[in-house]
Symmetry: C2
Subunit: 402 residues, 2 copies
């Protein structure tokens, strides 16, 4: 029986976000890491157990119940979609930043400047998810009244899976665009040092029967994919990252110590990242480019002061039949001829959809044993009961269920 | 003596656009085609002669003087920046579309819907440059009043070099973002037919001493680069385009007949193109995806009905010292370590800047002899005096001047 039928979405998300959660079942796009490739190295955890563990961890560092729920929703939704780099994998870094005082868990974002269509927000060093939720809800309200909402924030933190916020707009029938800058980890071709972050962009829109959601960083692959290869003692493809001398490398250890990832499409991807940084960092009053401390440094003793931009549009201000047109647009992409007939055309988001179906079939979230070992260390440090496994491996689960 | 000193910019641009022209001398980015690689195959044409030729061609098809100037400014500015794919190279296609009635040279764009911050424009099948200029000026005016201007247009045509319109916002101290969709020429990885256009994006912002301008299509290279390789009987790199079966090809003739270009960064670039198409096509009421007739088909007997989006922001609404911050941002990118000390870091736009300096040093615009032969054919067809060369080749010119 599918997880969503047995547990319902309320197990994974708070009631207020159920509609946004259902939106996720539509057409979305982000290349998930090859998380469950080696089934023997993957174990299953029930959603309520994962939620219990994450909330207890945040509770130990003094976070209020409401905020615990909010950030747990984000992390588990990322794992459900298969965007594991933005899921529980981030738990240790968030906890570390809280303990080091780089984020203030009691802070609330506040308005600096507000008009009918635009707003400038001071994130007040709150967790990124709270700043981004606040900004997106503000932008949605403006779009409801004027057709457009544009909100810029400074003094934010890492926002995690950017699609999460775009879904908040999409759930209301709007178009949502989310951008955020990040610590320098992207190297311009021909250089041997990183000058920009793997700045991310998410864009979502909904039709009557289908959705479109892109959620991407501007690097070929994110640092999580290289960490994953390192943990699995695998080599990485030549085009992902360089060593400290700016030479392409296939060794994940060299790539991790250099933190110099290649942008998509060479200079084009670098320029896209620059555009995002100008909007999110330069224009918002936040840090930008090499002014942002490296996240794993850790934070070089100071708050990262990241920036973000939310643009929400009401498409019905322009065309009344936007939803029908979007469904037709998605259909046209699906109808293009596949090179291999046995492998039908994948619409942006099909991989996440496949992962969500996979989780539903498993009846639990699949986590790598390496990640679970990291979670056990966190549990020991914080004196939290470790995450209990539902089954010891996917294979055992498969034989039980099917 | 530099061209800009001898002729001044008024020779190339109308007086009203001089400020925007000077903006172009700043930091801009677009990979120019390797136009002048083979100096022997390149001849020089004085700017006033190129302007005379282009204006006479448009005059022959009945265009008013003011509109001739407007479109000639765009084409020559593209050639000055080295974006030859959007320069005089487009002349035959524009003339052909006018003669076939796919665009209406007497039409003017009109407002469908107008608010303080947004507008929906019907391009009325006018030339893309007129629609895009109109929309950008409208967006700039809105941004001046409210901090943001967002204009969407349908029934437009090919807009040429997108940076041209972003410069109109940048010249007023604003941030300009331009997007436009295009005929399907981009193939999703794993497919064997094109479903989206090489949809373009330009973004510009200005500091006190430096600028940032990106202008890119979402394909690895545009179709012009493949035409160029074909004319020069050269092979193309494997990652640019596929043949009709969706297999990567190095033969430009196979690539040109298939018109299936690869997006930058695989699925990420495809998703970016989808985002642009949703905003420009689906949301504007224009054509989108495979609803757009192929340009070279020619137009399959109907108007292309392309869409465009202009977003203008007043950065001073958010930070008062935006210009100083942008200069610092550019400086930080420039300060990253080059892999080869003899080859300093190129900031986005350096290639265009180099090309503009090159043109200034030459004292004339360099055109390939193949392109000049195409122009001669146009001249014969329209009974216009062919473009007269300033010198027979760059080499001869070099020996005269230096």
């Amino acid at each position: 029986m599918a997880l969503r039928k047995r547990l319902g979405h309320r197990q994974l998300l708070s009631a207020s976000q159920c509609s946004s959660w259902r939106q996720m079942r539509g057409i979305t796009y982000r290349i998930p890491q090859q998380f469950a490739e080696d089934m023997a190295s993957t174990s299953l955890v029930l959603v309520r157990e994962a939620r219990r563990f994450v909330q207890e961890c945040f509770s130990r560092v003094g976070m209020s119940m409401e905020k615990q729920r909010c950030i747990t929703d984000l992390l588990l939704a990322a794992d459900y979609r298969g965007v594991h780099g933005s899921g529980i994998n981030h738990l240790d870094m968030y906890l570390s930043d809280i303990q080091n005082g780089y984020v203030d868990i009691k802070a609330e974002p506040k308005l600096i400047h507000n008009t009918l269509t635009t707003a400038h927000v001071d994130g007040n060093r709150a967790m990124g998810v709270f700043v981004a939720n606040y900004c997106m809800d503000l932008a949605v309200e403006k779009a409801r009244q004027t057709g457009i909402g544009f909100v810029v924030a400074k003094q934010s933190h890492h926002i995690g899976m950017a699609a999460w916020y775009a879904f908040r707009a999409v759930a209301k029938g709007f178009i949502g665009l989310v951008m955020s800058n990040a610590a320098p980890m992207m190297m311009q071709p021909g250089c041997r040092s990183s000058s920009l972050g793997a700045n991310c962009l998410a864009f979502g829109a909904t039709g009557n029967f289908s959705h479109l959601m892109l959620d991407m960083s501007t690097t070929v692959r994110d640092i999580g994919a290289i960490e994953w290869a390192f943990m699995n003692q695998e080599q990485i493809p030549r085009g992902w990252a360089s060593d400290v001398n700016g030479m392409p490398t296939t060794f994940p250890n060299l790539a991790l110590s250099a933190q110099q990832l290649y942008p998509i499409g060479g200079n084009k991807g670098f320029s896209l990242a620059a555009m995002i940084d100008v909007l999110c960092g330069v224009m918002s009053g936040a840090n930008y480019a090499t002014r942002i401390p490296r996240w794993c440094a850790p934070c070089q003793g100071r708050s990262p002061n990241l920036g973000l931009v939310m643009l929400v549009l009401d498409p019905c201000f322009f065309v009344p039949n936007f939803k029908e047109r979007l469904d037709d647009f998605n259909r046209r992409i699906r109808n293009s001829c596949p090179r291999d007939e046995a492998n039908p055309v994948k619409v942006p988001g099909d991989l996440e959809k496949q992962h969500m179906d996979y989780v539903d079939d498993l009846g639990a979230l699949p986590y790598s044993n390496l990640l679970l070992a990291k979670c056990k260390l966190i549990a020991n440090m914080l004196c939290v009961k470790p995450m209990q496994l539902a089954f010891t491996s996917c294979e055992r689960h498969s034989s039980c269920v099917r």
